[in-house]
């Protein structure tokens, strides 16, 4: 289950839904504020509903006010950037380019993409946070990747020295691996 959460998290980055800003958020989370990331993201959903609704209304007008559209999208893009919503941010940039070019069709088309990416991201994040809550706060409070590195170093040293002594090291390796993973999980 721990690994599943880590894999889901990794896929969000690998597939380009999130960028390093999300990691910055994770780094601000600690035991005194164990749900910080989810709190920020929830604020983002709330604000987004408002921004997207305003944009919808503005795009329905017969004659588009590109200045206003750009300004509204700037707000939404800012929030998206702040939580690391990479694909959403990219569509927002496209939208603003169309605004600058005063291209109404382009704006309307891109706005559909903005909403689509937002909806996809939201679903994925909601699933991710739900999973994280099930495994418990310690596993996701800090970046998990950093904790596995430390036990690995002494492991390699041991392997090297064991090889030199030509001892039967397979059992020892398995024991060390087991200890390393356990210490990584519980520390």
């Amino acid at each position: 289950m721990h690994r599943q959460v880590a894999n889901v998290r990794k896929s969000l980055f690998d597939q380009g839904y999130l960028d390093e800003q999300f990691i910055q958020l994770e780094e601000l989370q600690d035991n005194s504020n164990p749900n910080f990331v989810e709190e920020v993201v929830t604020l983002f959903y709330r604000d987004s509903a408002r921004f997207l609704s305003n944009l919808d209304q503005a795009l329905e007008k017969r004659s588009l006010d590109f200045g206003k559209l750009d300004s509204l999208m700037h707000q939404f893009k800012s929030s998206s950037t702040s939580i690391g919503a990479k694909k959403v941010k990219s569509e927002c940039t496209q939208f603003r380019n169309y605004c600058n070019a005063r291209n109404a069709e382009g704006c309307k088309r891109t706005f559909q993409n903005v909403k689509k990416e937002y909806t996809i991201l939201r679903k994925k994040l909601e699933a991710y946070f739900q999973m994280s809550r099930q495994v418990g706060p310690t596993e996701t409070a800090c970046r998990p990747s950093s904790r596995l590195v430390m036990p690995i170093v002494p492991l390699y040293l041991y392997l090297f020295t064991s090889l030199k002594q030509q001892t039967s090291y397979t059992d020892d390796v398995l024991l060390l691996l087991h200890t390393a993973i356990n210490s990584g999980v519980t520390s």
Binding site: F36, V40, L43, T81, S82, I83
Partner: protein, 183 residues
Amino acid sequence: MATTTINPPELHVLAVDDSNVDRKLIQKLLQISSFKVTVVESGSSALQYLGLDEETSCHRFNDLKVNLIITDYSMPGMTGFELLKKIKNSSALRQIPVVIMSSENILTRIDRCFEEGAEDYLLKPVKLSDLRRLKDSILKTGSQTQTRKRKHKNDESPNFSYHDRTPSPPSSPQQSQTKRARL
């Protein structure tokens, strides 16, 4: 033998941002950086907090000493730039360093802010490292010297980079390339 530990004084920051998400973020970033934080959502609220009457520009005394103001640039009503100007035009408040935050890397905007007396211009999203650097700078030099360091982001940057703010004509593109600010 007695030892005296002198702790650096806790700086009180007033953060201004109309975005709920960004307000929560900057508050956390500042707290982790060991600032005492007050957050408001508009320039008007900021001036009210600072005791400056918006209309008369009169300052009423208050003892909520603010050591630093950090404000978003793009805000409805009063922009961060307008807030900066009002503060720098107030004899009571002008010595408080004002930092601008913006998601937009626009040189003319950056220049204008520094010309108006901004202490620094941070590109959003603001990072812990930005605040660490800012805090060191504020503690070391106070508000006497203006810091010239700016961050450069590749993904949203124009073709040319920042140039040093020396009283010389604007750098040519070739010069700018070599003076590219560190990431």
